[in-house]
Amino acid sequence: MRLRSITLDNVRRFTDPVRLGPIGDGITLVSQPNESGKSTLFDALQAVFFQRHTSWGKTGTAALQPYSGGPVTVECEVETEGAVWRLRKRWQQGSGGEAKVWRDGVLMHQGDAADQWVADLVQGEGGGPAGLLWVRQGRVSLSPTGTAKEKDAEQAGRRDLLTAISGAMDAVTGGERMDRALEVCRSELDALQTATGRPRTGGAWAMAEAEVADLAERVEALRTQADALHDDLRDRDRARAALALEEDPEDNAARKAALAEAEDALAEARRHQTALSELKLQAQVARQAASMAEGTALRNAALRREKAEAGVAAQNLAEAAEAAARALKSASMAQDAAADRLAVAEATAQSAQAAIQAIAQRQARADLRRRRAEMARRLAEAEAAEAERLLADSAARRGPTAEAAQAVEAAARTLETRRAAAEARAPRVTLRYDPGAPAASLDGKALEDGLPAPVGDGSRIDLPGLGRLSVDLGDAAGATAVQDAEAALRHALAAADVGDLDALRAAQRSQAEAVRRAEFAAQRRDLHAPDGLPGLRDALAALPEERTESEEPAAPDRARAEDALKAAESALDAARRDEAATRLARDAARDAATEAKAAATAARARLQRASAEAAAVEGRSPEADAEAAEMAVRAAEAAEERLAAHQRDAPDPQAAEVTVTRLRKAAEQADQRRIALRMRLVELDTRIDSRAEAGVEEALTEAETLLAASERRRDSLLREKDVLLRLRTALETAQSAARDRYFAPVAQELRPLLQDMWGDADILWSDETLLPRALVRRGSEEQVDLLSGGTQEQIALLVRLAFARLLARAGRHAPLILDDALVFTDDDRIARLFDALQRASADLQILVLTCRQRAFRDLGAAEVTLEPVAPD
């Protein structure tokens, strides 16, 4: 169809008839200013082609009526099917409408038939799809714009377009059947998964997955419990077997017997050890006794030698020697007595030690008591020795001091010296008896004939028959010096608080003896209490109390034996004191002889001391001393032998203790293992019962079967999803391919137009609207709705051109009518659009209505105007 002219009569402002034409092929420009009736012309054209003659609506034909009223008449000349047709429609309110169609001046149709002829022309030719080939003023894009009513109308227009071509499109795309199949497929798939292919929350797939996950978790938990049950059952079997081994009666009996035997051996070893300690003590005491006996023998020998020497030196002092001999005899007697007492004490001590040994062989419990008794005895001995030491020490401190004694000795020596000098200087008388004359005497002693005899001051010479001759020497004999010396001696004696020199010396001997006694007592104390008395007392106090002696079987009295020993030692101490005294005397004589050989008094004194000392051992022969010493040595050797023999036979208490400890520990460990195994069995029984009560294995088997079923359901749903996906893909692919085929001709027409505008550009079509939805430029996709207004109107125009060219190529020419379609396009683009319009106008009829007269001057189109129609 080609439009050749249009005539308006009583249409809005055109109350008088006006005509536009002739309209040729190609582009026809109607360029007039605003308000010149271009839109009226557009609306009139639309009405004549799309409104029935009976239609009268405010938005339709009624809107074409001028204010003055009257019928609205629009008439067109169209060329189609090789003929020129004139059609005229008239509308008025009520029933005054009219429609007529003439061909070559011959009325062909009128009324409804004329309307139908026009509708067939439009539909069949595709020449009037409003909204696609007809572009109203202000219409920029392909999408509906304007008021809601206009949008609805535009939507209806597009539906009309789709309806116009739906027959062919259904055949290609599957039409409604395809749509419903796709809808069902998509709906079912949508119920299973989300758009991103994940399980849809609340959907069957998601629920199946959740169920599988829950059951898998339950299976895992139950499997863990079942494994634990099986482990416990195996552990219980092992624990039972282990407990049976631990509780084997024969093994336990053997273990107990071994332990008892080891404990007996340990007790025996400890008893042996106690006895060994006693023997060591005995051996030590015996060694000391032997040593003392040997010392005594040596000392006695020395005394004897001294006696012999003193006897030679003091031959003439028999009285003094006799006195000394008496003193010595007395000392010897005392020593003998002490030796006897020592022997008794030793015998008694041996008896006591034998008793202690007997006691030591008793039970281990008695050992402690004996140790306590022994310690008490030693404490008593030590305390006695200490007391004795204190007494001796006190005695040593009594009497003259060493300085006083030295002063006395010095005074005595001075006196003797002076006396000797006086004696040496003294006058001597020599009497020559006449024959038969009676013997005269000097100081009572006979004067021997011719032998000078010294005389002193006051000496008296009895001359029988003659009377008594008294000698008065005056100081010629040194009497004064002697008297001074005697006074000094008396003074020194007084200072020393002694009566005479003998008393002094006796006191000194006593002091020396006391010192020795103290030393000996200290030795004994230390022997019994090597760690000191407090230490011994503490050690004794630290020993636990045992039952009393009375509770034990009768035993020898240890205290008595110890007392006897103590008495013997005391006697020995006395002998030692005697020996020390004679030694002191001998030393004093030796000193005197050295100082003054000539001192006869001193020589006598020495002889006396030597005699006295020798007398002390006179009653005891050297053989006796040697025998006593030998006996003591033999006793010590015997004690050593007993000790050595005991040590040889002694069992090792440490080894016995290690054995006992090991066996006890083994027994304790066996008990602990049994207890642990019983506890383990209780624990396992409890857990096994608990899990058995819960039926873990049945629950696991059930959960596994449920899981398998659930997985099958899940797999089935996955397969269903895959089937639906595959079906949807197949349908969408086919539909898309069909649409591509459907749009291919349009796209082919559009492509050169797009290239004119934007170079390498393409259009993407909407599956829903069958309209362009995006412009692709340089590989970038741009949504049409988001493009600028100018670009949108350019696309809209080009798409319409393409559709129009497609229709034209199909021999179905349809005019493209543009009512101010380019509003936003700039000068550069509008020139390119003009080129596009010119390119398309070769086989198209394009009617361009515009108020932009200057802009469209360069369109290069034939221009027509509405002209009044002259009355016929």
């Binding site: 059952l233 096994i688 294995e697 398998a708 079923a709 089937v723 639906l724």
Partner: protein
Amino acid sequence: MTALTFVHTSDLHLGKPFGGYGEADRLRVARRQSIAGLIAVARAEDARHVLIAGDLFDVPNPAPATWRQAVAEMSEATELTWWLLPGNHDNLREAAATWEAISALGHANLRVLTEPVPQEMQPGGILLPAPLTTRRPASDPTGWMDGAVRPEGVIVIGLAHGPVQGFGAEEDGGEIIAPDRDRRAGLDYLALGDWHGQMRISPRVQYSGTPESDRFKHDGRGSCLVVRIEAPGAAPEVRAVETGHFDWRLLTLSLVPGLDAAAKLEAALPEGPRRDCLLRVEVAGRTSLAEASALAAAADRLAPEFCHFDMRTDGLSLEIEAADLDAIATSGALRQAGDALAAEAADPALGQRDRAIAEAALRRLHALVAEEGA
């Protein structure tokens, strides 16, 4: 000489779950009631002994309710002596605690056979049990029977559990029992368990099967064997007595195009109350799209009548005809979609799964279009 009559059964699998079955509870109850069924059979047949040839329980350590109720029910039938043999599911190693607990109850008529030693069933009749000590024994547990000392002139019964060499196993496991053990060991009868269906290895060696079926491997209801032996050496009289409640059936439908698959399915359905029937239909062969759709519709319609209905079409392949595709569309996008799916379904270059998916999609498309047409 006194004849020996006993009930031979096995594989009760008490406590077995039936996950995945819609009516699992009914199946479990029926399994529990199999003991009552065995008691009824023994009483009716005047048997004094029930020999359970293994797998009394499904798991080694069943829930207390499972084994206590079973033991109580057996012990209350005081005139019967139950000879309980540990099988592979309740073998001695794994189920020691269970068997100990049962023995500890001290029921006089329950004899747990934990040792391979001869047991006197009655004067003139002894039992040689072969309990399984592990789930998969490495050697023939009946081997000891050859040398077992037994009195002269007595009926000797062997009792064992496991697959017989050359006859296959119920589950995975080696075939270990010598099929001629009766002759080697001089047995009058060897009562076997493990195979859930009845199987006669020889006149003297037989599997009793389970008293209540539990799988589609063996058609029909479960049963037990009533065995009577008149005298030593006499041929055993063996008779099967049905005890099962549920009927397990496996049907195989072989289809060819042009056959009314739905009608064939209906014709092949078993007789009897369908509510107590568990049915699996394995469809094989070839069929058209329309027939496949009709078969699926028939299965959907019939399934609710059964306790369990399961149709598997893995072995069925579609033979796609032009008419099937025409039914979808003669031309256009729908036809193209149908053609593409049909081509994929037949494309040997694709994997089996992809072909199956394509075939299912084609069936679905056909059904959608057919529904629309209807």
